[in-house]
Symmetry: D2
Subunit: 155 residues, 4 copies
């Protein structure tokens, strides 16, 4: 992963508040996923301040009858990673929920691995804006951007 | 379903070119879905010119550990229905692929059924723009809009 | 304007909290606009609970050299109306700011009037999600949806 | 401007087809803009393969009565630059039209200059997907992504 510094934009202060133990605990869940992430087969590969890289194998149950990965698979993984990239920057006990996102699908995916790179572009106490790039077989196959709501523990 | 006529907008010509046999063949696939649609448990309920209504049961494997339906489930079903609503207006052999969409998630979903209403707002020979509303337990839980590319048969 | 009731969705409670005096004060500003709204020539036509209708004349300075209305004009008016539709449902002194939106442009606009219909689909104390339809010469020319942040007075 | 190479993604072939004369002719129009771009005061600063940098002074007529730049100004400039970044990669006589885009507004803008960086992420014969970043006073104030339709000359 690159350092994510956009020319002309100073590194924001929230980048410093990064809890690597939280990141490590997410990496440790790769073998224990349930529900949608298990169906998708998402694996977290690397966390860094403001960044998360994940991967997904292009397995048969993720394809349409036409042999291409279902667009819904790529949008589901975007939704999943949008929230996860924020956790190492949140307080323990808080939780993240995607409130909105937009995706452009650029090229069909039919084999290999999909690599998902998420980068926080803005973070406040209650909200984050995240950009995501999807890559397969050496080419860009999707780009997305969306908003995550950060919530205090319930109860 | 209502008739979808927006005040001030004339009913477009493409509404007339509606192949109800194609719609019926989609309804007949409810028991035979595979891959992502099978995992989601999407069922087509009703087709009409420019419209499709689908449903999805809120089953345990679609929830996050927090007990809410995973946002990725709702975005995946949006992607799926975006394309399907177009088929009765397409020529036999053509296929539809979502190129982009945007979703706003409005409220958490934890039980019951999610009802998905898709409406084509614009259709040309090669592209469609579709709006989608998601409803659960009597309230709006999501809205989406996106673009579908309509392609001629390969080969 | 229609009543905006989507089948299967109960009328939300916030629809009742509608301050018609605020709506009237917006209608009274039509002749006094400055800045971007003045350049665009936006006119509020009608407010109703959860709804706003505005219009914009297709005047020469809004066209590109190719003779079509600049897409930026339609996106700017969407941004403007997104916030304005919320004011009659907000407390006096609060202000509204668009945080994100998405627009699909459906057909070129070259003459006549653009009619803009905004409808709130979700409203909480701090946020609203709004859908917008743009119509010109009897056909849909754009659809948009976005999020508005509702903020308490500063200071 | 940086070189825009995303890790893991090979430089696409279309990057090589770059017509610097077209780029120069755009730079030469800075003093002759009309309509919306003139109102906004957009100035092209630099073109490069797949990239365009533009700037806009935060002048009084672009502010709301609250003293912040109108969100519609930022969305309008996004729409404008989305198309312009494509021209040096298009055939002479072709024209570009935004079909859809999405913008997240990250922070208020009240003075100085807004810098707009556009980067093409995907380009085919008939369509381009473009990402845009907006910067003001050393911080990110907006991100956007959208689709441009590339059309052959009319007539």
């Amino acid at each position: 992963m690159t350092d994510g510094v956009t020319p002309g934009v100073k590194a924001p202060k929230w980048l410093d508040a990064y809890d690597s133990e939280v990141a490590d605990s997410f990496l440790a869940t790769n073998e224990k996923m349930t529900g949608l992430p298990a169906f998708l087969g998402v694996r977290f590969v690397e966390f860094a301040p403001g960044r998360l890289c994940a991967e997904m194998l292009v397995k048969p149950e993720l394809l349409t009858p036409f042999g291409n990965m279902h667009g819904g698979v790529l949008s589901a993984v975007v939704d999943h990673v949008l929230g996860c990239v924020c956790y190492p920057h949140m307080k323990r006990g808080q939780w993240a929920a995607t409130t909105e996102f937009k995706i452009n699908l650029l090229a069909p995916v039919s084999k290999g691995t999909v690599r998902v790179e998420a980068e926080i572009v803005s973070l406040t106490r209650s909200t984050a804006v995240v950009r995501i790039g999807l890559e397969n077989e050496g080419r860009a196959v999707g780009v997305a951007q969306g908003t995550v709501l950060i919530r205090d523990p319930r109860g």
